[in-house]
Amino acid sequence: MPMDPNILEVDRYGVSFHQYTTFFKKGFVEPVIELNLTVRRNEITTIVGASGSGKSLLAHGIMGILPENAREKGSIVYQGQPLDRKRIQSLLPGEIVLIPQSINYLDPLMTVGRQIKSLVRKGDPDAVLETTFQRYGLKPEVAGMYPFQISGGMARRVLIATAVVQNPTLIIADEPTPGLDEDLVAEALEQLIRLKEDGCSILMITHDLQAAKKVSDKIVVFKDGRSTCEIPRDIFDDAGKIADCSQYAADLFKALPENDFVDLPARPPAEVSHELEARGLSFSYYGGRRILDSFDFSLNSGEVVGLRGGSGRGKSTFAKLLSGYLNPTSGAIMIDGNPVPRSGFNPIQLIYQHPEKSLDPRWRMRTCLEEAGEVSEEIRRVIGINTIWLNRLPHEISGGEQQRFCIARILQPEVKFLIADEMTAMFDAITQAEIWAVTAEYARAHSIGLLIISHDPSLLNRLCDRIVYI
């Protein structure tokens, strides 16, 4: 009997949640409306979409771990048979496995080796562990370590090892790349290709289209709970053909830093010029390892500078030191040769990676926006803030919209330098391009020095006057 080429078929799949719509009435909200996709045997299929487009819900639906108040419709067919809760129970553990996002999913009180061995169901656990470790380039002593002792790159390999020792047929990789620097992303993707060579079928979920393009055999674009179209590998670079399939998908591809993205506006001659300078900056937490050691840096008004460096090199620490959230162990930060004032509105402002954490969850957006002072109509327009968002609470608008508020509220006349720490790492390509366009334009027009911290080299190459390595 010939094998079915499709390992997983998702047909008109929808998820709705039973929750309060008014104070007394419960109704259904439907975040996932209609998803169609097929995962072919021995291929990497990638789901790309903005947050809230239903990617993770689909993964949870396949694994059978949706919350109690969820109702599903449509069908998920695994190897020719429908996948219902009962079947999931009999398949799991081992046949379909999820590679979790981070090391936090491991038991912090158990050594890595013991956790992996506990998952082995076929053969001698010790032997399986040894061969898996060899295959993924992990040293034998890693088995004796606890999750908090291993570095980011090792963590990725360990997480993959936890999946492969179970001999899976289908692997679901949930966001395997966010927050990793270029080398680690390359490595994580390399591991996925190896898994494919080992005969696994892979369903990858990500908002990182660049990573998806590198390894996928097929990309499925999700938008607002619907699957828009399936893009096979051979037309990844053919904008016309993608546009035939779905305009949204085409826009998504076009917004990548290596395609259209944003052009850095020219630097107008500055009327006033300031210089931000960090001299011999060192930092360590309570006598621990030095995270920064005598680092020198300078940034001028109107300049856009990129900061690159592997994970754990202290990029975020440096951002916090510059903007005064942390105090350096030694060294000084100065504007035009004077120390930065410690009270009042800080002329150096930091924009975080997570806008939802930078906004008071109980404040309306209007209050959040005007916390530091009035924000002019013009800034609101330039940053692209819609007036109807102003009366909402932070959780009622999307991450990209939240980030616009975080940017707009600090654009006070006093601000001289902006530090964007992975400002758009959580967003899809279109949102990312939009946010960078408005930020770069404003910074250039008002002679604000902009420091961009990112792990994405093509973004930095596109946006920055110069790039500094840490």
Partner: protein
């Protein structure tokens, strides 16, 4: 038709309304009886002594012929007043103590922690009996005793909340936008604390009533002249063996009903006020 729809799909919001109604009914009953109370209601009437519950005497009468319904309602009123005062007082103590952690002083913190541990180390009831006895009993003594024993766990909770809030990103951002500590406290921290405090105060209230009844039952609380629930229960135990079950059952049940409805209100509020809830 509307009513049918209302009950068909039971959910937490409806439950909250129901327990609020029960609590309001009990409260209303207590207030009304205490207003319309007459000398006759409390008078000793040996002729009618030891009556089982009937239409005339809903809760029956005791060994002196006093109407148990009236006595229960007055007892509940006394319990309510004590409970309210005590829980309010302990919330105030807890809030003031917990608020010191905003100053970020290590010495202050360790003193506070020591006090909390000390207080939690001694069983509640023992401490309450000791305080109440030392103050010579009576209403004030019971209120002070309950208030002084119930602040530690609450302090710990509010303190943990403040410490967590202080590390939130948006607080740091506000500081860097030049906002004063006062602004941050009033606008960012307090609004997050209030729901926590409110829920805890509602939950503390039935607890305080129960403890008041317990201390009174043991003879260290309200004076035996006052018809408090604790006094009624403690006196009535002697008569259970004589088959006068109504002397304990009705006062006990009403106390239970009141305590449980307030607990349910507190619990539902806790879930409702959680901004991250989606289910239930």
């Amino acid at each position: 038709m509307e009513a049918v729809c209302f009950w068909r799909e039971w959910n937490l919001h409806k439950q909250l309304v129901l327990v609020c109604l029960v609590a309001a009914a009990v409260l209303g009953c207590i207030i009304v009886t205490n207003i319309v109370i007459t000398e006759k209601g409390l008078a000793i009437n040996i002729a009618d002594a030891e009556q089982a519950p009937s239409l005339e005497y809903v809760f029956g009468t005791d060994w002196l012929g006093r109407d148990m319904f009236t006595r229960t309602m007055i007892g509940l009123k006394n319990s309510l007043v004590v409970g309210l005062l005590a829980s309010f007082l302990s919330v105030v103590i807890a809030f003031l103590l917990a608020f010191t952690s905003i100053f970020n002083s290590r010495r202050l913190d360790s003193v506070l922690n020591l006090a909390i541990d000390l207080c939690l180390g001694v069983p509640h009831l023992v401490l309450m009996v000791m305080i109440s006895a030392a103050m010579g009993g009576g209403k004030t003594a019971v209120v002070v005793a309950v208030a002084l024993t119930h602040w530690p766990s609450l302090t710990r909770l509010i303190r943990a909340e403040i410490l967590q809030l202080r590390n939130e990103h948006y607080i740091g951002v506000a500081r860097k936008m030049g906002k004063s500590p006062l602004f941050i406290t009033v606008r960012h921290i307090l609004p997050h604390l209030l729901p926590v405090i409110m829920v805890q105060a509602v939950l503390l209230f039935p607890h305080a009533i129960l403890h008041e009844a317990a201390v009174t039952f043991l003879g260290f609380g309200l004076s035996p002249m006052m018809p408090a629930i604790g006094v009624i229960l403690s006196e009535s135990t002697r008569y259970i063996a004589m088959g006068m079950w109504w002397l304990v059952v009705f006062p006990g049940l009403t106390l239970l009903m009141m305590v449980m409805s307030f607990e349910a209100i507190g619990d539902s509020l806790r879930i409702l006020l959680d901004p991250n809830r989606t289910q239930h």
